[in-house]
Each structure stands twice: as structure tokens, then as C-alpha cells.
Symmetry: C2
Subunit: 323 residues, 2 copies
Amino acid sequence: MRNPDTTAYGSGGALAGDVLGAYLRTQAVAFLRALRLHTEAAGSAPAGGAAAADAAEAARGLRGAARRIAGSLTTFRAVTDSAWADGLRGELAWLSSVLADEHTSAALPARLLDALHRLSGSPDRPGGAAGGGLAAGPLRAAALLERQLAPARARAHAAALQAMGSSRFHAVVDAVAVLASEVPLDPVAARGPVADVLVPLAAVPRARLEAAVAALPRPAQAPPYDAGQDGSWHEVRHLLRIHRYAREALGEDVARPAEAGGALARQGDAAEAAAASAAAARTPRIAPATAYALGVLHADQRHEAEAARRAFHRIWHPAPTPA
Amino acid sequence: MRNPDTTAYGSGGALAGDVLGAYLRTQAVAFLRALRLHTEAAGSAPAGGAAAADAAEAARGLRGAARRIAGSLTTFRAVTDSAWADGLRGELAWLSSVLADEHTSAALPARLLDALHRLSGSPDRPGGAAGGGLAAGPLRAAALLERQLAPARARAHAAALQAMGSSRFHAVVDAVAVLASEVPLDPVAARGPVADVLVPLAAVPRARLEAAVAALPRPAQAPPYDAGQDGSWHEVRHLLRIHRYAREALGEDVARPAEAGGALARQGDAAEAAAASAAAARTPRIAPATAYALGVLHADQRHEAEAARRAFHRIWHPAPTPA
């Protein structure tokens, strides 16, 4: 990050505890509101498409607030009551991982079936008018993927429902409800100025992110797509979130991290979809038309992942603007 | 073309016949030199890879010179002895089409086998270490494509050999040899200034090209890839050649048409390769791993065609440069 943005509180006289406390309280309120919306959507009858969309939107809000609270407790641990912060952070990590599994296991088949639907609709594609013997491929591939991915989706949904009915979850909600009114802080650190306390702490995840990004192969050197790098990209996505939430807590502009995060999300979704179509193609005794459609699907998703990787680098290393 | 480049001869006092005659003589000499190299390469023993590469390079030179002469005789027909020009143009069109068939029928399988070779070598790809049951796919797809495309390549090679041994070909060579020393021109038009005679004639293929490019869908509106548009792209490639040769004859800068032509050549090659892999996947009773590799290959080539289409638009409609 060659152009460090200005730190909103960096030069003012605000106290670290006030700024962090306000951010955590805001996120706690957002968590509780999302939980209420989720409960309403889940309880509404009949449970149609609109209710499911509301529930998914509420779950997204819940995940986002849980990640922000957990991220802030990590980055700014020294400003909080550390024992309390470590406990809550672990519980929020558990919750957001359960919710993320539920989201991913539903989003992956939706993405694949949508791409196959477009394949079968295009005049040029295997299922199109000119497809000949390949016409049934996308439909058969969709049926195969649906069959293979439905159990994982059902399991993740059941796990999320079970988690949200557990006493462990209720304890998390109670802790967040307390947080909404009163944030347990370290009495000394909380009274320090933002610039002396929070800003140096926020530089830590930023440095870790910079190192992880620097370790990514740049598009010019990189082979077209290498699934072996999916882990590095996943790590960058995780570190970018932590960095972004630290900036948010400091009241800084997060437009660029948010845009870069969008590219990383597209990268991750496409890479996962490419892997799932390759895995499905290893199913014994599938028809050649099915395998062909899965090959097209795999390559299309791989290209989307590549495009998202290039987009991330463009956002993160912008070309120097002419003076 | 919003920035018409300067016309090298446009403002000078050169005569149309002198300028066109010099260009045609140069191309006739290039034709005869390429023919000599081709004969030498074909006659060299043993006929190894180097000789085959020399023969291919000489055939490329022959095609280029034949196209340039035929293109100039089309664009500047009014400045030539029209009956002679029409006859030679037709014979050169026959010759360059035979040579182009030979080139394409060899380049297509080479491109596909090369792409499959890269597929089988990549850790991420169907034939890679993690490929499991898909590992044999690229090799089997390569064998299938080789089997399907070899007859057409052999036929086109035989047709080119036969053509170049025919009396029809010898008559073309005789006519080009005459052209190398004396260009049959229209006595009145040839004495006009370049700006009044050649420049308006060169504007005709330029206008046709502009219209054909304007009729292409722009990337933003276009669906990702539509094989139904291959014909329009082929037409633009043909018109761009005619335009480029007219500019060459006028001594104008051809860097941009040459670069745009390179993008169109990549587009055409990739589109043809995508179609060939889809066609091969329609072969009855192929193994799923073969079909999967052909699907990946098809989509990869389709993406290369898309990228080349975008590159052409970027070259042809450059972003306005900041003042």
C-alpha cells in the first residue's frame, strides 16, 4: 500500500477506548438486529423463496457483524479485557465458520447450476442448437452436481440450525448483548490517544496482509491458473478482512479494501466451482456429453478465477496516475 | 478511424502509376524470391524439421506477396490495365487460397495438440498429478484430434503440391515475373497525382472496413462468445488486409493495421480450434476423460478468442489519450 490513506482519528484527541468501544457497540447492535431478522424470516409461514432470501440476507448480516467483532478483538486485543476478548473471539469464530459453511454449501451448487443453465441456453455452447450429441450434457451435468452437492448443503444447513438452537449460541448472543451496552476495556490502554494506541495496533494486520500479497505471484509471472495457490489466495482474503475491519474501527475509508475483497470473493467462489466440476468429472461411468459439459464448466470457472486474480492485482497495485 | 494518419505521398507531386508500379514490382520480386526459397526447401535432402520450417516460412512469404498483389489490383484496379488485373487477381486468389488451406490445416492440429500438451503438464489440469481418472484425457483427446484432422492436413498438403506443379501455377509465376519488370497500367489514370487518384481509391476499402467493424458487437454489449459471429470477424480480417495493403502501397504507416490483424489472426485460430474440439467431442463412444479434456480445451480456446476480440477493439478504438 504505497498510498496510505489518512487516519480519521489519527491526529485528533479521541481516546482509544472511546473509538473502539463505539465500533464494537455498533457491531453488536448490528448482530442483534440481524439475529432478530433471521428469527423472523425462519419463523414466517409459508417458508417461501422470499423468506429464504430474507433468512440468507440476515445470516449474511450476522456473519459480517460476528467477523467484525472477532476481528476487532484480535487486532485491538491489548485495548480490551484480554481474557474476555479471547473467549468471545473464539465463540464468534465458531459461529461465523458454521454460518460460512452454510452459505458456501448453498452458493456453490447455485453458481454451478446457473453457469450450466447459461451453457445450455447459448447457441454456441454444448447444449445449444448446434450441440448435436452434446445437447444433453449441461442438463445431465447439472443433475450430477445437484446429486453430489445436495447432501453437503443439507448437512451444513442442519448444522447451522442446530448451532443456532444450542446453548452455546445463546451464550454468544448474551455476550454480544452485553457488548452492545458496555465494552470491557483495558483501563490503561483505553485512555491512550487513538494515534498512540489503535493506529500502531492496526498496522500489524496491515503488514501481515502486505506480506501475504507480496508473496502472491504477479499475473505476468504466474502460470494461467494454478489451483495449488488457492490456499495463498484464501489467506489473503482472510487477512484483507481483518485489515478492512481495523480500518473501519478507525473510521478510515474502506472503499479500496472492500473492492479488493469483492475480487477475492469472486476468485474464491470461482476456484471452488472449478474444483467441484473437476471432481464431478471423476465420477465413474458418466456420459461423454456430461464430461464435456463439466470440462467446459471447469475451464470457464478457472478463467473467472484468473480474471478475478488480475482484478485484485489491478485494484491493489493501481497503475501510477500521470502527474 | 478517427485519426487518419498522414498520407506519405498525399501532398507530394508523385504520379499514381509510379507509386503503384513500384509497390507491385517490389511485391512481385518478393513473390519470386519466396518461390525460389520454397523450391529449395522442398528439394533439400533429408527433408527434416528445418527444411519443413523453411518451406512453411517460404509459403508464408508467397501467400503474403500474392495477397498484396491481388489486393492492390483490386483497390487500384482503375489505375491498371483492368482486363489484365482482373485475370491475374483471380489466379492469385486461387493460389493464396490453396496455400492458406495448407497452412490452416497444419496449424490447427498443431495448436490443439500444443494446448492439450500444456493441459496434461499442468498440476491443476485434467491430466495433472491430481487428475485421478481424468489423467489420460488430454493424451486420448490429442490422439483423437490427430486422427480426425490428419486426413484434411494431408489432403491440403497434397493439393498445394499439386497446385504448385500445375501449368496453371506456372502461368501465374510467368505473369508475376513480367510484373516484376513492367506493370501494365491505365495510361491516363497512371499519370494523375497520387492524391487525386490513389488516395480516393484507397478510401473505398477503408470505408468498407469501417462499416464492417462498426457492425461488430462491442465487447460490452456482446455475449461472452458467440460462434455465430465468426463470419463477421472473418470478413473484418479480410477487409483489414485489403486496407493494410492499400496503405502499404501508399507508403503509409501500417503499424496499427498490422497489430489489429495479429489480434484477428489469433481470434480466427482460436475460434477454429474451439469449433474443432467441440466437433471432436461429438464423436460417438469416446471416454468421459477424453470428453472432459475436449470440454476444457473448447472453453480455453473460446476464452482466447474472446480475449483476442477484446484486444482488437482496444487496438482499433483506442481510449482517448489525456490532453
